[in-house]
Symmetry: C2
Subunit: 234 residues, 2 copies
């Protein structure tokens, strides 16, 4: 699969690229092709030192979209609307993965501040052509934790989307990252519920100080007690 990671030069994007390269053809997307190209070279070198032969290229965002089967929008919420509108003509029938969380710091706490559409995922769906399949995922994976290849990322990734096949593909990308477990959250209308967990986790990290550094979440089964969810149907 050809995977474009837009914002692929930031911590979260680099983390995804490093963990998927070797298995997939990766295109790092950035505003400037130069910057993307340099990041691609650097990550390729780092992975080679770890014994992984990777196929990573860098491209300007629009070219990266056109080249790919699946696009991860590893971009800040504040630039999402503008950027997706600028790029919409370059999309065809890609799977678009949104880990985007609309949130703001209000006083000493983080609050979920979704757009009128209800969530970042629904905003993106409204802008892009209907042939594009939006999947909401990876919101609770810490950028700091995924960036460091030596970290094991425990926890669940809850996936929302209207198309089962693309959710299945994203579930496999979750499984490709050691110790992350995919869970099907339902259709795209529930994306707000998933996006909203991130400010909660950031507040928990802040309030509980050093105890929690890069929190994630896990859905646990509380009855019967012997079983834990091992996998979902995706």
């Amino acid at each position: 699969m050809k995977i474009a990671v837009l914002g692929g030069t930031g911590d979260f994007g680099v983390g995804l690229v490093m963990r998927w390269a070797g298995e997939h053809e990766i295109i790092i997307g950035s505003r400037g092709a130069d910057r993307a190209g340099k990041a691609a070279e650097e990550i390729t070198r780092i992975l080679r030192d770890r014994g992984v032969e990777a196929d990573i290229r860098g491209m300007e965002n629009g070219d990266a979209v056109e080249e790919s089967d699946l696009v991860v929008l590893s971009i800040p919420y504040n630039s999402t609307k503008t950027m997706v509108e600028e790029l919409k003509g370059r999309f065809n029938d890609q799977i678009v993965v949104s880990p985007i969380v609309p949130m703001n710091r209000v006083g000493k706490r983080y609050m979920y501040t979704p757009p009128a559409e209800g969530s970042a995922a629904l905003l993106i769906q409204k802008i892009l052509p209907p042939s594009v399949r939006i999947v909401s995922a990876f919101h609770t994976v810490s950028s700091k934790a995924i960036r460091d290849m030596d970290n094991l990322l425990m926890g669940d990734v809850i996936i929302a989307g209207d198309d089962q096949e693309s959710k299945r593909i994203v579930a496999d990308l979750v499984r490709a990252i050691r110790d992350l477990r995919p869970l099907d959250g339902g259709d795209l209308k529930v994306a707000a519920q998933i996006e909203g967990i991130t400010p909660l986790l950031l507040n928990l990290a802040k309030v509980n100080g050093n105890v929690i550094k890069c929190p994630g979440i896990a859905v646990v089964l509380s009855c019967p007690t012997e079983k834990k969810i091992e996998s979902c149907h995706l």
Copy 2:
């Protein structure tokens, strides 16, 4: 401590009563003192069969509030406003614990539908006298799971509130239930983030079918990988 559980005849209320009785003096509150009294007798008998000597009484809701140091509102969201307004004159400086989740089934999914105040907890705070300390907790504990004493309730209980001392008391009540871990979520303004997890868990249970029956959540530490949160500062 004298703990009143309003709605103490429902599954969730009965579960709390059974797990705290023996350590605390419990008052089951209900609309009718008779019904509350019968529930108290029945639970006392069940606990005696398990070797636990409990001090449980049943009272009409208002009397239960006046008699207690801490009041758990184990009531449906739909009756919250009316009931809290009816009872507000009976409160003095109790700690009030709200596990209440405003949610509705919209089509095939559960959605979080908070009041204009932002959350059930903030609605209750607005109605009750300022001397009452509101603590938001226990939203993600399954009624079905807590009702059966043989179930181990794995997972975290995230606690929100403006008064540290009452959060600490509620954290101890969480620890009293085997294998639940308390976490400090922050002040009462973040209660919506905690209440909102319940519809997500119900959707997960529904979408993933038999795999998840009574889900709870656990906050996991993803970096460094060796450590898990053992406790919070509460």
